[in-house]
Amino acid sequence: MQNKEIVISVKNLTKNFGTRRILNDLSLDIYQGETVVIMGGSGCGKSTFLRHLIGAIRPDHGEVWMFGKNIAKASDEEMDEIRKKYGMLFQSGALFDSLTVGENIALPLREHTKLDENIISIVIKMKLELVGLRGFEDLMPSQLSGGMKKRVGLARAIVMDPAIVFYDEPTAGLDPVMTGVVDKLTIDLTKKLHITSVVVTHDMNSVFRIADRIVMLHQGNILQIGTPDEIRHSKNPLVQQFITGDAEGPISFVQQGDDYLEHLTSEIKE
C-alpha cells in the first residue's frame, strides 16, 4: 500500500450481544482515498461492524480511531464534530418522508451551517447534478423509485463535503443497470472528491467493480483482507465459496449439526 494517511483505525474490536459474540477481536486500518468493501454472509456481523465505525454502537473491548479521536470513548460534543466529517448512505436511503428531496439534502446544511439560502439552493442543485437527478428538488420521497431514493440519500450524505462516506448495502434491491449506476457513482465520488469510501455489501459484481481492498467477515471474525486479485485467488475455502456463490461448501445453510434422521424421529413416541 502506498504511504497514505490512515483515516480509520480499528484495534481489537469485540462486541457481545448478551452471551453471543458478534464481533471477535477485529483490527483494520483504512487509508485515505481508498474504497474498502466489507463483505460476508448474512449474520456475519458486517452491519454491526459498520455501526461501530460510525460511532452508533460502542464496543465492549477495543478502539475505533477516526480523525485522531477514539470514537469508542468520545463525548457527545466530540461526536457531533466528527459526524460532520462523514456521511452515510442507508440501505433504503432513509429519506425523511415529510421533507422534499431538496429539503432532505439541505437539512445538514441548514442545521449546522449559517449558509445563505441562495447558496444552499445552489448546493442542492450541484449535489443532485452529481447523482444524476437534476430538477428533482421539489419531489417528495414517496414519488421516487428505489434507485432514485438511494441517489438522493447519497446526495444528502455528501452535502457537507465529508472526508469519509459509508454505504450500507447500497445496491440491495436494485436492478443490474441501477446497480451499475450506483457503483459508478461510488467510484466517481471517490475519485473526484478524494473521499474514502467504506462499503458494506454482498453483491459480488459491485465488490469487484469498486473495491481497492476487500475485507471478508465470517461469524464475527476477519477471514481475509486483500486486493480484489488476492481475494479472487484466495486459498481459503470459505472465501472461495462466497465469491462463487456455491450453495455447497464449508459455509453451511443448515444451522445445526444434528444428525438428520435423529432430528426427524426425535419426537416419535413408542
Binding site: 452508533a56 418522508d97 445538514p108 449546522h112
Partner: protein, 265 residues
C-alpha cells in the same frame, strides 16, 4: 403455578424498566425545551408550529362532537332524577361542574390520545423501522430535540385549549337540553351554571389537561421510537401507545382528583 409467578415477575420487571426509560425521555425532552435555547439549539419553530396545527385545530371537530353529546347526556341523565325532586334547575350546576372538573379534561384527553397519540406513534414508529431516526443521529440531529420536543410542546399548549372548548361545548349541550326539554329559562340556566362554577373547578380541569398531554406525548413518542420489527411492529406500538395512554390518563385522573378534592390535611 411457577409459570404464573414467573410471568408476573417478568411483567413487573418490564414495567419498571419501561417506566425508567419513559421518565428518561421526559427529562431529555424537558432539557431540550427549556435549556436547548440557551445552548443555541432551540426546538424547531417550524416543526412546533406544524405539530400545533395538527394536534389542535384539526382535532376541533371530534372534540366538539364528543363533548357536545356527553354534555347532553349528562343533562338528560341528571334531569331524570332532579325533575322528580322539582330541582331541574340544578342540571345547569351539575353539567357545569362535572364538565369542567372531570368529563371535559378526561374525555377530551382520551379522544386526543386515540387521534393524536396514535398518529404520533405510527409516524415515529415508521421512521424508526425505515432507519430515518438513525439517519437523524448520523447527521448529529438529536431525535429527542427534533422529533419529540415539538410534539410535547404542541400538545402541552393545545390540549388545555381543547379542554376549554370541550367544557364550553358540553355546557352548551346541557343548555340545549335545559331550554328545549326541561323548559328552563335561558338566563336562569346560564346564571346557575356560573353561580356553581368556581375558579378551582376550571383550573384543576386545565391542570389535568396539561398533565394528560404530557402522558400522551411521552407514551406516544416512546412507543414510536422504541419500535422494532417492520410493519407489524408499527401496528403493535400504535396499539400499545393508545392503550397505555388510556390507562395512565384514568389513573392520573384518580390521583389528581384525590389531591385536589379528596385529601384531608
Amino acid at each position: 403455578m411457577i409459570l404464573f409467578l414467573e410471568s408476573i415477575g417478568k411483567l413487573t420487571q418490564s414495567f419498571f424498566k419501561e417506566s425508567t426509560q419513559i421518565l428518561l425521555l421526559l427529562s431529555q425532552t424537558l432539557y431540550w425545551v427549556f435549556l436547548g435555547p440557551f445552548k443555541k439549539k432551540p426546538v424547531s419553530r417550524k416543526g412546533f408550529f406544524f405539530q400545533t396545527v395538527f394536534s389542535g385545530p384539526s382535532s376541533v371537530l371530534i372534540v366538539f362532537f364528543v363533548d357536545f353529546f356527553i354534555g347532553m347526556v349528562l343533562a338528560m341523565q341528571s334531569a331524570y332524577q332532579l325533575e322528580q325532586l322539582g330541582a331541574a334547575i340544578y342540571v345547569a350546576a351539575l353539567v357545569g361542574v362535572s364538565m369542567t372538573r372531570e368529563i371535559g379534561p378526561v374525555l377530551t384527553s382520551l379522544v386526543i390520545a386515540g387521534r393524536v397519540g396514535a398518529a404520533i406513534t405510527a409516524e415515529l414508529a415508521t421512521m424508526k423501522v425505515t432507519e430515518q431516526v438513525e439517519a437523524l443521529e448520523t447527521i448529529s440531529l438529536n431525535p429527542v430535540r427534533y422529533l419529540v420536543a415539538p410534539r410535547f410542546l404542541a400538545l402541552l399548549i393545545m390540549l388545555p385549549c381543547l379542554v376549554v372548548l370541550g367544557d364550553l361545548v358540553g355546557m352548551f349541550g346541557g343548555y340545549l337540553i335545559g331550554i328545549f326539554n326541561l323548559g328552563l329559562s335561558s338566563g336562569l340556566y346560564i346564571d346557575t351554571t356560573i353561580e356553581f362554577l368556581t375558579v378551582k373547578d376550571i383550573m384543576t380541569g386545565l391542570l389535568k389537561g396539561a398533565v394528560f398531554s404530557m402522558i400522551i406525548s411521552m407514551i406516544a413518542c416512546y412507543q414510536g421510537l422504541s419500535t422494532e420489527g417492520g410493519a407489524e411492529g408499527v401496528g403493535r406500538s400504535t396499539t400499545k401507545s393508545v392503550v397505555t395512554s388510556f390507562i395512565l390518563i384514568i389513573v392520573a385522573d384518580a390521583i389528581l382528583t384525590a389531591v385536589f378534592y379528596f385529601a384531608k390535611t
